[in-house]
Symmetry: C2
Subunit: 459 residues, 2 copies
């Protein structure tokens, strides 16, 4: 690319009409100059060829993506993608913000994804590593989306709880149980104090647990639990299936008195959420399957925060995401950033409930609360409730007790002396690996380089 | 996990009923033993909790995923995921084959993906890197899918060409051109000898090029080109959009005489292909956007070959994939493996046309043919046809001439002496970076480790 061509992919931020542009932030690494690599990235993601041969025209002024800021980060002898060195070469890294005219793709999620993480971005000349780390939308773009129908406020209104985190629970055994046994477990947990019982992400419509039958029994169990406790309850039906069955499964769930649905969003496609949102009568909960393969590498792929933002935009009301604890292989910083994406100002789009999950139980509740510094989240144990040695009712009770202790600022072990369900949970789960502060996993994943790069990946 | 529990996730391959099982092959790396890591992987992707508390039952015999082979590969001081060492520890690596009962998820793509690359697989205890490298399906599972409606044979019948590769071309300028100018370029290229003109993956339904208007004009241009040349022609409309608009756009395209459609598959979701397949009257072409972020890391994520296989299963008739050449950052071995996935025996599922793409032009055709050793592929230039200095008709003619030279075993430069369009192509494109054998990009991407690991990732 000659200097003049290169210059056509740069613009002063002040000259960009923010109302008609989306701004992508990427981390890039290159063996050429970061400026040339950033220009190539703009070219490949927009006007790859900006004129017809022998026609005097140039589509770049109107249609080209343009670099509006370029912050060099550092250089190194080895690539952050592969830790491979190329003899005699230096890798340069930068954080680049690119304004892209919305008219190139419109307010459509698959077309947005094609630009943001398609061929153009991931096969751009001279780029040795690239990670999409943010997308900023103007309010005019956001206004084209419905966003969450219920969100945090709506979920709280359904459950009628406003002064504490919500207690979700994944019914376990997750695979293999018949609908009657399944519904009985959910009922028990609700009676013990669980607000929201849910299908595991792997349990959908199967021969051993036909969806309609499970919905019927779990819908009845929900009503019984509400009558026994005098409290509203939610069941989340996993309606992950071929995309042309999602509405049908939603309808079956709702007809049977089930009052929330779940999609494994990246397994069905983000766009399926937006489709469902137009029809859904109940909250939509997102599960994080298929996100890690494209997001875990610290300097390649796409940030989890981008996908959290897009799930909120598409219309999810609660987002289950990797939470704290070594098993979840997610740094505390990243969990907090994703929680923040659920509630950050976003034009006309409502806040959604963050549900950081993974190996939680009564004993992790105070730690999660302490880290999040808000009650606007849900805990989502599985075995922590349904694997409780005294059964799921006691498992749910142990959550309630843990929260009582947290509010009263009493140490859990001390509180457990007069709370047998909590005591049994501590005996069963604390040794077996609740959350801890072990950072081997984090160090491994985030250990490429030092603090300079790490701080730059934050936005 | 105790030894007895661990053993419940292993089985002799002979004892597995292949008719009711899918077999996943993973590369795994761990700081514990590969045997324990493989057992955890089975547990997390199936019966995470296999019994109710205080109930005498065990869902593992029927529902657990089970390791049927475990090949240790090597050990190292640093992780292949992040090149990070953990003091005093060794990383062990293995290739593991896991039989998973189909009844856990059914013949449903999103549910299959949830098991194959969801929370269970990517957040499994003790696994420091994991890559899904193959899925084997029994014929009974494949029979639940329609697969390609046309496939390679059907596309050849439409184009009525059986003795050479097909010539695809991406109309450029890809962004910004109005429908009339666009249709005129396609017409010119068809007249010059292009078989198939197509929308760029970034061009869909936009205000500056409304889909219906573009289809109308390009449908007319196709008819004109067929009359002029006496040859059948195809136009591929990019119907990538929100998933509930795909069928509508398909119908608009077909009503206007457009005879193929394209989906950016991972941007809309694999399941959208299967939905479209039930309704489509024309071939479905897949584009590879959004695959690289989850597949490029050699030892993490999911292999491109798995996604090629799944796109074929879902019902694509041709699959555009990263081809040869440094820009495509894909090893020759990986391109060939993906081409093979298009044609390998697959029960009742037809072969699909492989379309390895990226920076191709007349000059790369002989090299692609030489590497593939078959005529059953399509070349898909963009600028190589539509950026030809004499225009797209000459660009298409240069492809035809290149194939004439290839068949006659004449060097391109020599043949170009009497073929001015080919000569102009060589002058315009050969310096500017056609494919070459530079392997810096490959070395960078595949440079983690030596030949041992590399050979094991093949299947």
């Amino acid at each position: 690319m000659n200097t003049q061509d290169m210059q056509s992919f740069f613009a002063d931020e002040e000259t960009i009409d923010r109302d008609v542009s989306v701004i992508f932030t990427y981390f890039i690494e290159t063996l050429t100059s970061v400026k040339e690599a950033a220009a190539s990235l703009c070219q490949e993601t927009s006007t790859a060829q900006w004129k017809r041969p022998n026609v005097d025209e140039d589509f770049r002024p109107r249609h080209a993506a343009k670099v509006i800021s370029l912050e060099p980060i550092d250089e190194g002898a080895a690539s952050v993608f592969s830790s491979t060195a190329v003899f005699g070469s230096r890798f340069s890294r930068a954080r680049v913000r690119i304004a892209h005219p919305i008219e190139n793709f419109g307010a459509r999620l698959p077309n947005l994804l094609t630009v943001a993480m398609g061929e153009g971005a991931f096969f751009s000349h001279g780029i040795t590593s690239i990670k999409l780390i943010d997308i900023e939308f103007p309010d005019s773009f956001l206004a084209a989306f419905q966003g969450p129908q219920f969100g945090t406020a709506g979920l709280r209104r359904i459950i009628d709880v406003f002064d504490r985190p919500l207690f979700f629970g994944v019914v376990k055994p997750n695979v293999g149980l018949d609908p009657a046994g399944f519904a009985e477990l959910a009922r028990e947990a609700w009676v013990g104090g669980l607000d929201v019982a849910k299908d595991d992400e792997m349990l959908a419509d199967t021969a051993y647990s036909p969806f309609a039958q499970r919905m019927q029994l779990v819908g009845q169990a929900r009503q019984e639990a509400e009558q026994i406790t005098g409290r509203p309850k939610i069941f989340i039906a996993n309606i992950t299936d071929e995309v042309d069955r999602i509405i049908e499964l939603h309808d079956i769930a709702v007809e049977n008195g089930v009052n929330a649905v779940m999609l494994n969003v990246m397994a069905v496609g983000l766009s399926a959420v937006r489709m469902l949102r137009k029809r859904s009568q109940v909250p939509i909960i997102a599960h994080f399957d298929c996100i890690a393969p494209m997001s875990r590498h610290p300097y390649f792929g796409v940030s989890t925060t981008v996908l959290t933002k897009l799930q909120r935009l598409a219309g999810c009301d609660a987002i289950i995401m990797p939470g704290f604890g070594e098993r979840m292989m997610t740094s505390e910083e990243e969990v907090l950033a994703n929680v923040q994406e659920c509630v950050a100002p976003m034009g006309s789009i409502a806040s959604v409930l963050p549900v950081p999950g993974g190996s939680d139980w009564a004993g992790t509740l105070p730690q999660v609360y302490e880290r999040l510094r808000t009650i606007d989240f849900a805990l989502v144990p599985g075995r922590g409730v349904f694997g409780h040695p005294q059964g799921p009712r006691a498992g749910a009770e142990s959550l309630v007790q843990s929260w009582e202790a947290t509010v009263a600022r009493i140490d859990l072990a001390e509180y457990a002396e007069q709370a047998p369900q909590l005591r049994a949970a501590i005996e069963a789960f604390s040794a077996a690996g609740g959350q801890d502060d072990t950072t081997d996993g984090e160090a491994l994943i985030h250990g490429y380089t030092g603090a300079v790069l790490s701080s730059v990946m934050r936005h």
